[in-house]
């Protein structure tokens, strides 16, 4: 494509907040077909920056109970391996463990998933991606964290680059301990999660929305090059 460049990149000033801005996020002066020019700021213009809102459960108790039951029986897992534990997830779907029995299915897109499995240690870089994916899931959504790394840092507890406590960055419903937990432990984790959902305790999404500022502050504390909108719709 021999495409004429119809834009001009505006170099950002050297202020602190622009320190980690990547070139593709620089503002640019764009020439419209009619010759007018205007500024496009990728970070503001390409993304919706609305904050998440908590969604109240259904006011009718019975209905909510029924829906919670349905949610618990139909858990769609986001197939996004974040750490070493992702290798433990695949056997779940094989005949030996067959998580389908419990209504657990894998889904390749966050839009349709309900459960995000953080499978082990999270470096800061991965955390950023994990947050994006989590925010792209629709409420109600759940998080299951595998391994001691997500609980207290595990063997990476003093690493310069690995987080220690996942629940400071996103609400966690179930921790499955172990290094790494075996698929059986994961199945047990699913059972625990289902129980929680049925009890109406699976309100992680609302928790996240309600304490949004706190979570964001924690995330931003360690993710220094925050070159994305505050909430990834």
């Amino acid at each position: 494509m021999a495409e004429e460049k119809n834009y001009k990149i505006i170099q950002p000033d050297n202020s602190e907040e622009n320190k980690f801005l990547k070139p593709e996020n620089y503002k640019r002066e764009v020439t419209a077909p009619d010759g007018n020019t205007f500024i496009v700021d990728p970070l503001n213009d390409y993304f919706c920056d609305a904050k998440p809102q908590p969604h109240a459960p259904n006011t009718i108790k019975v209905v909510e109970k029924f829906l919670n039951w349905a949610r618990s029986q139909s858990i769609w897992v986001l197939g996004f391996g974040t750490g070493c534990g992702s290798i433990e997830i695949y056997p779940l779907m094989t005949p030996r463990f067959d998580a389908y029995r419990f209504g657990v299915q894998q889904r390749p897109t966050p839009r349709q998933s309900n459960l995000m499995i953080i499978s082990g240690y999270l470096s800061v870089k991965t955390l950023k991606r994990a947050i994006r994916s989590y925010e792209q899931m629709q409420s109600p959504k759940f998080v299951m964290a595998l391994g001691s790394c997500t609980i207290n840092g595990g063997m990476y507890w003093d690493s310069y680059n690995t987080i220690n406590r996942l629940d400071h960055y996103m609400p966690v419903d179930v921790y499955v301990a172990g290094c790494m937990p075996r698929p059986e432990a994961l199945l047990a984790g699913f059972m625990e999660l289902k129980k929680r959902i049925r009890e109406g305790k699976g309100e992680g999404a609302n928790q996240y929305a309600e304490n949004f500022d706190w979570y964001k502050a924690n995330q931003k504390k360690i993710i220094k090059d925050w070159n994305m909108p505050d909430y990834n719709w």
């Binding site: 998440p52 349905a70 005949p95 067959d98 389908y100 629709q138």
Partner: protein, 296 residues
């Protein structure tokens, strides 16, 4: 009054379709030596999706796309006579014939394409282009088969085609026009988009294809449509080639068996690449279709 019966029919079809989908998934799991999902899993998935609390929209067409899609599916239901000899369940089949139903399928495809397009995800578009590309050649043998049976029965009205097949298995198109049936059943594989022709959604490769961006109620609508569409296509083939149905029982059995066939093939065969599958339909199935017209 008609509307009540139509809604009743729709209700039956949706429930039947959901149960059938669950049972078939369980059968597929058994083929893989798994236990598989409970047979009521499709219900739960559907309920769960309709119960998703937060939703977003990429724009008007993203919102309307699922409506179009479901309209396509329901439309096929509305214009399809279900039970032969039963005025109640002939729906609005007096408004159009076989051609109408063939072209009504496109409405749903267009809706999906527009919705996915407005979603703006490249994977969606890749899926859509694949789906459309494959669909062009899938339709060829089916068209030939339709022409063939239209010549055979000298009518395009589904009711009359079914009527002509009454009186035992030997009167079915399957027996009287096996070539057309063969061509159509091969293109049925492509229509149902199970393996080897499922490169459109292509899990693991092109995450989910067209509905990548859809979620919640939108996804629920797409799923509902998938249920209706699957059953209705099976019923279409039943009416055209397998003697139709004179009561709900026969309809359920025949539809199940017809639907089972692509699932079975899909459980056994691996996936074609898109250009392979485009070409495949122009070989054996089209040849069968041509023979069906020549030897009618």
């Amino acid at each position: 009054m008609k509307i009540v019966y139509v809604l009743l029919g729709l209700f039956i079809i949706i429930n039947y379709g959901l149960l059938q989908a669950g049972v078939l998934r369980r059968i597929t799991a058994r083929v893989g030596k798994r236990i598989g999902v409970p047979f009521y899993q499709p219900y739960i998935d559907l309920i769960k999706n309709y119960a998703i609390r937060s939703q977003f929209s990429h724009g008007v067409m993203f919102y309307l796309g699922p409506v179009f899609r479901l309209s396509g599916g329901v439309g096929i239901f509305l214009f399809m006579p279900l039970i032969f000899g039963n005025e109640i369940f002939s729906n609005y089949s007096m408004a159009g014939d076989l051609i109408l139903i063939m072209y009504f399928m496109f409405i749903g495809m267009l809706g999906m394409a527009l919705g996915a397009g407005e979603g703006g995800h490249p994977y969606s578009i890749i899926g859509i282009t694949r789906g459309l590309s494959q669909f062009t050649t899938v339709e060829v043998p089916f068209t030939l088969a339709v022409i063939s049976i239209a010549i055979q029965y000298q009518t395009l009205s589904i009711t009359e085609i079914v009527a002509a097949q009454q009186g035992g298995i030997m009167h079915w198109t399957l027996m009287t026009n096996p070539l057309a049936t063969g061509a159509a059943m091969l293109s049925f594989l492509g229509m149902m988009m199970y393996a080897p022709f499922n490169v459109v959604n292509a899990p693991q490769e092109n995450p989910l294809g067209p509905p990548t961006e859809f979620h919640g109620t939108f996804l629920g609508m797409l799923q509902t449509n998938r249920v209706i569409l699957g059953v209705m296509e099976a019923i279409l083939f039943m009416n055209l080639f397998f003697g139709g149905a004179t009561n709900w029982g026969i309809l359920f059995i025949k539809a199940f068996l017809i639907y089972f066939y692509p699932v079975f093939v899909g459980a056994v065969f691996p996936r074609y690449r898109i250009d392979q599958s485009i070409r495949w339909f122009l070989y054996l199935p089209t040849a069968l279709g041509i023979l069906a017209i020549i030897f009618i």
